[in-house]
């Protein structure tokens, strides 16, 4: 959920295609490494900052996503951008010894923190760890029953490519759940949220992680992420059926769901 970056250098007058990195424009081929720097930097403090920033509510958002996943014993689950393994830990117990959970993340630092955390909890037998780019998932077609992505999609350079890739690896009948920051539904909440994001959050980042700039980027990247309806449209473009979303905490976060039939 938290983001960070070190010494980002926006491109200056270049013909190369660009994309956003927070409110800055950077060359598309730079974004992945910039995001990688972000997560290399925050990996160690990731869980603490998540709890602080959301006042623990991120645990309820993730729990709600798991409730909606319908995961059963024996199923195969892919947790993309799984970070420090919050969802994977629960999925591992739900699928049991006959099932399997793959924790995928593009960032090795995050993957290592997640792996250590899960192993410390005794979760070893049915979890695979894969360093993978969501835009080009290294898995066979029609392989997973459920794919989840919590607070990861907004950091992907080409979000549509990621959704297409997920659609390919899902089994027919499988479902995708994307939990991501979104647009608050009320104007007053939106103003309050802006104040919190742009004024309090960076100070909190400075105080705890000694990195205010990173948390400024977090607020910016959330504002640049597609709103609820746009993301739903992207699901449909990728081929998903019965797409819907549910706003959580007044739309600060939304859970999008789509099925592959």
């Amino acid at each position: 959920m938290s983001d960070n970056h070190n010494n980002t250098s926006p491109t200056e007058a270049s013909d190369a295609p660009t994309t956003h990195f927070g409110f800055k424009q950077v060359e598309k081929n730079q974004k992945a490494s910039l995001v990688a720097n972000v997560f290399d930097s925050v990996a160690a403090k990731y869980d603490v900052m998540n709890d602080l920033m959301s006042m623990g509510v991120h645990r309820l958002w993730k729990r709600f996503a798991i409730d909606c996943s319908g995961v059963r014993a024996g199923q195969k689950v892919l947790d993309i951008a799984g970070g420090t393994g919050d969802l994977t830990a629960k999925f591992s117990r739900l699928v049991g010894p006959t099932g399997n959970v793959t924790l995928a993340d593009i960032n090795l630092s995050m993957l290592k923190v997640g792996r250590d955390k899960l192993r410390d909890r005794g979760l070893v037998s049915n979890i695979d760890y894969v360093q993978a780019d969501a835009e080009a998932l290294p898995f066979p077609d029609n392989h997973f029953d459920v794919v989840t992505m919590a607070f990861g999609l907004r950091n992907v350079t080409e979000k549509q490519n990621a959704l297409n890739s997920i659609y390919r690896v899902l089994k027919p009948g499988g479902r995708l759940l994307v939990l991501e920051f979104s647009k608050p539904t009320s104007e007053q909440l939106s103003k309050l949220y802006d104040t919190y994001s742009f004024h309090i959050l960076p100070k909190m980042g400075q105080l705890v992680a000694n990195d205010a700039e990173s948390y400024q980027y977090l607020a910016e990247s959330i504002r640049m992420h597609p709103d609820q309806e746009t993301l739903k449209g992207m699901f449909e473009t990728a081929g998903f059926d019965q797409c819907d979303y549910q706003n959580l905490t007044g739309g600060i976060v939304a859970l999008h769901r789509g099925y592959k039939f």
């Binding site: 509510v57 645990r59 309820l60 958002w61 729990r63 709600f64 798991i66 409730d67 909606c68 059963r72 014993a73 629960k90 117990r93 739900l94 049991g96 005794g122 959580l248 905490t249």
Partner: protein
């Protein structure tokens, strides 16, 4: 904030904390590994799912009862009941009666529900031992002795108060009826009901004869 997630989080935390207080619960839970108990409790707007592994995971399920029943496997049990009936489920020998009265609907493996009920009923928590681990044996023993004495005195005082209140209401103020009078009144009501039923039957007979 998703309320269902909050409710399931509270249940999960409480259940695991309570089970952790009894070391024997690990062995009792072994037979439940991989089992699911799904409970639709009216008026909760969602079902609560208990999934057993090394611990209990609690999920909120937002699907109708019939859809859930259609997907049960051999280690799943799905029950539908109400909040009022829930305390009665402690008595496993009452299950048949509750089912006959339509107060309880059970689908899937009934043994799972019975084992879950047993898991919590057989909890044997040694509070003094737990307290001793946090403080020391003497403090724990003194605290428990003090607590037992207070409990004994409180129970005695409550019983005494009940007697005094009962005397005052029945004998002195005569606001409530004595137990014997209530029983006598009940008998008289029963006798009157029987008489009325007999008279009704007699009238019916007479009506049929006159026709």
């Amino acid at each position: 904030m998703p309320t269902s997630a909050l409710v399931s989080a509270v249940i999960e935390t409480a259940a695991n904390k309570i089970l952790a207080l009894d070391p024997d619960s690990v062995a009792r839970m072994a037979s439940l590994k991989g089992a699911r108990l799904i409970a639709y409790v009216d008026p909760l707007p969602f079902a609560v799912v208990l999934v057993f592994s090394e611990q209990v995971d609690v999920l909120a399920l937002h699907e109708p009862f019939q859809d859930t029943v259609a997907t049960l496997n051999h280690k799943d049990c799905c029950i539908k009941t109400s909040l009022d009936t829930l305390p009665e489920l402690k008595h496993i020998n009452q299950l048949t009666r509750l089912i006959q009265q339509n107060k309880l609907q059970v689908e899937g493996e009934l043994a799972v529900a019975q084992q879950v009920s047993g898991l919590f009923q057989q909890l044997d928590i040694d509070v003094e031992e737990l307290l001793a681990a946090k403080t020391n044996d003497v403090v724990a023993h003194q605290a428990m002795s003090w607590f037992s004495a207070v409990k004994r005195k409180a129970t005695g005082a409550l019983s005494e108060f009940n007697k005094v209140a009962s005397n005052a209401l029945i004998e002195e103020k005569q606001i409530a009826a004595p137990k014997l009078a209530v029983l006598h009144f009940s008998d008289e009501v029963n006798a009157l009901r029987d008489d009325a039923a007999r008279l009704d039957a007699r009238l019916l007979q007479l009506e049929q004869k006159s026709i």
